[in-house]
């Protein structure tokens, strides 16, 4: 059994402490005993194999997979990691696109401002994670976006070809966290 908590992988194996549900099924609350210690947690299912688990004031995004489907995804993850710097930019929050500063074909440097999204009355500048070339811009100024909406896609910069190939990235690093 493989579990990924906020992008960090944990593997559950059959040795060590005992985990037991002391009380469950009451709403979303779960009392779990780990070793001798009881813990209160809350779980909300947010996707097919995705859970939001709340523990001591903090929410964790958790993916759960059995061994076989995990390996399949890991293989896919390796490919994704190879292109880590070229991951598309997605909307990190819902909001309104105020301005788009790049266009198709434009080369961008790491950290360069791409567009500005207004959310909760604040302007947020979204920047490029890595150097590359803009393959496609999916939004225009005035567009309303939801969290996770595709905003900008990139392709390898001609002069940069091949630099990011290879398997030196672990799949865990590919968790997409667009920087602002």
């Amino acid at each position: 059994m493989q579990v990924k908590v906020d992008g960090r992988t944990a593997r559950l194996v059959g040795t060590g402490d005992e985990a037991r549900v002391l009380e469950g099924g009451c709403g979303r609350s779960l009392i779990l005993s780990v070793g001798d210690r009881p813990h209160r947690l809350y779980g909300v299912r947010v996707g097919e194999a995705a859970w939001e688990i709340h523990h001591r004031g903090r929410s964790y995004q958790v993916e759960v997979a059995d061994e076989r489907s995990w390996r399949v995804r890991q293989a896919q993850g390796d490919r994704a990691a190879a292109a880590a710097g070229l991951e598309p930019l997605r909307a990190p929050m819902p909001g309104l696109v105020l301005r788009v500063d790049v266009e198709k074909g434009q080369e961008v440097a790491a950290g360069q401002g791409l567009l500005i999204v207004e959310a909760m009355k604040m302007e947020n500048e979204l920047r490029a994670r890595a150097a590359g070339r803009v393959r496609r811009v999916h939004v225009a100024a005035g567009a309303s976006v939801r969290r996770g909406d595709l905003l900008v896609e990139f392709e390898q910069d001609a002069g940069n070809d091949g630099v990011r190939e290879g398997r030196d990235h672990s799949p865990d690093d590919s968790a997409s966290r667009p920087e602002r």
Partner: protein, 501 residues
Amino acid sequence: MLESVLIANRGEIALRIVRACRELGVRSIAVYSEADRGAPHVLAADEAYGIGPAPSGESYLRTDRLLEVAARSGARAVHPGYGFLSERAVFARAVRDAGLVFIGPKPDTIAAMGDKVRARRLMQEAGTPVIPGSPGPVRNPDEARRQAREIGFPVLLKAAAGGGGKGMRVVEGPEGLERALAAAGREAEAAFGDPAVYLERYLDAPRHIEVQVLGDGHGNLVHLGERECSIQRRHQKLVEESPSPVATPELRTRMGEAAARAARAVGYVGAGTVEFLYLDGDFHFLEMNTRLQVEHPVTELVTGIDLVEWQLRVAAGEPLSFTQEDVRLSGHAVECRITSEDPFQGFLPATGRVEVLEVPVGAGVRWDGGIRAGFDIGRHYDPLLGKLVTWGLDRASAVRRMARALDELTIVGVPTSVPFHQRVMRHAAFRRGDLSIRFIEDHPELTAGDVDADTLAVVAAAAALLADGERGRQPARGRRAAVPPVFSAWRRAGAKWAVLP
């Protein structure tokens, strides 16, 4: 006392005002946008009226609709809360022109303090020290460059009509100025309907300390001690406390008198706050907020004075029942602003439904919240969900109590700032009182999203058990399992498990 009050606001502050009204026997009249139909402030008020679609420009900012509701409901007074229309002189004037009491200072006072450039000038005349800056708004990039050179980089761009961090930008050097000017102007226009921006010298790592004042319509005005609100991100406060860890009785008197002088200079009536930046023993006037502040509860806990109650009493024409000599500060109070923002992703605002809400109780704990379980947190309004406030005999016990209360606060369904606050309360520099408005940047460990191994294990196990349960292993309906369910993979392995990173 006033017979009734229309509350032209939403969220926790609207609920706070409803509570004060209830205690005083005043009829409370709430308003709501389409997104807030089932909001806690609506459910709590004596009456509630819809005023339009979710965007605040079509609801909470619509003076015409608010006055319509006031007429329809027979309201005698309007409380604007904070934000929205609270610092718009035209709104205060419209309320008065409609024959209603505006709960706040006179419209002219709001106008004078709302124009930050004019406020700076007034304060200088009243003998209150101000931060060096441009004498007026800067109209174009050339003028901005000229002024900035004179003041010296880094400079701070600020909306002349502003407040609350909107339309503010720090500029390190001449190259970033034009762009920042455009962005600040746009933000100022959107937030305040006025794009005018001026410059101030950016002080390096000062503290934010402010003084609460309260005046009546009979010429009495008192100051109620200070609040330190240095822990901010993007100029928005996240943690506040009273008193300030650096305030000596001598500094408190000096700042209090400067604030009272400033307030008297504009004939202040009601509750207001004079904000200062404090650096190396000196304080400089920042701005005056002519309304109730978000962080007013910490002052209430150390003075024992209910500020909202006094807003209502003063608006009803009552004189203050106490003098400056009667004001005594007792103990220490801390407030954490709980927002729907992810501290581990640069405080990105998040939306979602509150699935579970469990609020801490116990000695010395107060929760001023505006949410309930089942309520949707949308993108239209400020991300403030509620304020957790604790009191203790001294700072250390108030902080320890806050750490305890934060651990008991459970908000499931939307990421919140709670884990950030938990770290702040346990942080050595915070416990020493070693604060500045750069606190968050100076201590990146507060916003690093690392997960310790023990937590990882518990969270992973919980998710695995839940996922396993969803695969149809629940006991038959109507029958309780004799043994609590244990995760199947572990059961096969003798119900033992471990988490390997």
